[in-house]
Symmetry: C3
Subunit: 152 residues, 3 copies
């Protein structure tokens, strides 16, 4: 299994457009995202996001926040733990919270999941997007499951 870990944030004229712009900034704006729950195959490899085919059906874990409250600090975060037998992904996000707290919470949750499964963590990656809302803003962080049929 191959994954890419991305993030993005943006303003937009509506909440939907702000969210779409944040996906676009993360270079996953032109595909269909199908949300899945957060498990990785044995020996998953993390890669740079390849160019995806417009309209492709792409499995992902997505953490996102959108707000129209000026000054809101949005933090969207994914924590990815990879082991030999399997891996786990955790989403976490928060508004006007300490980003370090959000990240640490995500790390604790993903460590707990791996511990429970008795899988040693070989690689632990946290990706986050910060955004301070001007008018309408969105922040996203995502794990993209890469398969050959979604590549351009």
């Amino acid at each position: 299994m191959r994954i890419a870990i991305v993030s993005g944030s943006s303003e937009g004229p509506t909440e939907l457009n702000a969210f779409d712009n944040a996906l676009y900034e993360a270079e996953i704006g032109d595909v269909n995202l199908i949300k899945v729950s957060s498990m990785l195959e044995a020996n998953t490899k993390v890669e740079k996001l390849p160019k995806l085919k417009a309209g492709a059906m792409v499995n992902c874990v997505l953490s996102s926040l959108t707000s129209d409250n000026e000054g809101d600090e949005l933090i969207a975060c994914v924590a990815v733990a990879i082991g030999e037998e399997l891996g786990c992904v955790v989403e976490a996000n928060g508004i006007n919270q300490n980003p370090e707290d959000i990240k640490n919470e995500a790390i604790e949750m993903v460590k707990y999941m791996m511990d429970k499964r008795n899988v040693k963590i070989n690689e632990l990656i946290v990706e986050e997007a910060h955004h301070t809302v001007k008018e309408i803003g969105s922040a996203i962080a995502a794990v993209i499951y890469i398969t050959d049929d979604i590549l351009e």
Copy 2:
């Protein structure tokens, strides 16, 4: 990529059944709907909804509203913009709002998405369902992604 654009509305004895009845009225009641986010491949063709196989796994963009408040006016709407390089779909819905406002909002949002991607709109389709709640009602509008494996 081939899509069909459908809508439906219905009453039912529970919210779940009203929603199911609305899907059924739209002729997508016998399949498994998997919600995806709203992008279309290059040169997508719009077709009449074919007969789908019961239990098939069908990707879709779905706008839906259900209410048990007598007299509520439900409006569920999808706006579909198709271009040569790609296409975009927007969901919008509202209760007791002017249907024209909902439609225009959807059109503005999908135009913005296409503009942002520098893709000229060759075809713009808006589909909507209206429903006035008697006891428990539901309205849905959907874009169905058609693939050979979901056909009867």
Copy 3:
């Protein structure tokens, strides 16, 4: 089409971990769950859950409840009706309600769906998870769609 019907419940240090622990107890904790809407193919067979491949993409209908309110009684339930032409699944859940009421409501809803489609019910199965929250708890019931590519 082959399905398995499972349930589980658990405590955990966070809501996400309690939910993950409940999935794990139901032996669907190591896969990616993709939520689909609730229709079964003609002559669906119910099987014992096979061992799933870690990280597999698994279609499911999922009923779940999570709470951090000590003493809450969580009930998560799925009702599955199978007929010759197709089948239907209903999710129902409730907090601090009579479990029999939740089950009966699910049964009524799924019977209504089958009646509406004029399909005779050959098999009706209800699966439920109960959980009394100690600190943070979760209960889940699920229908898993089994395909060869998700097996270990």
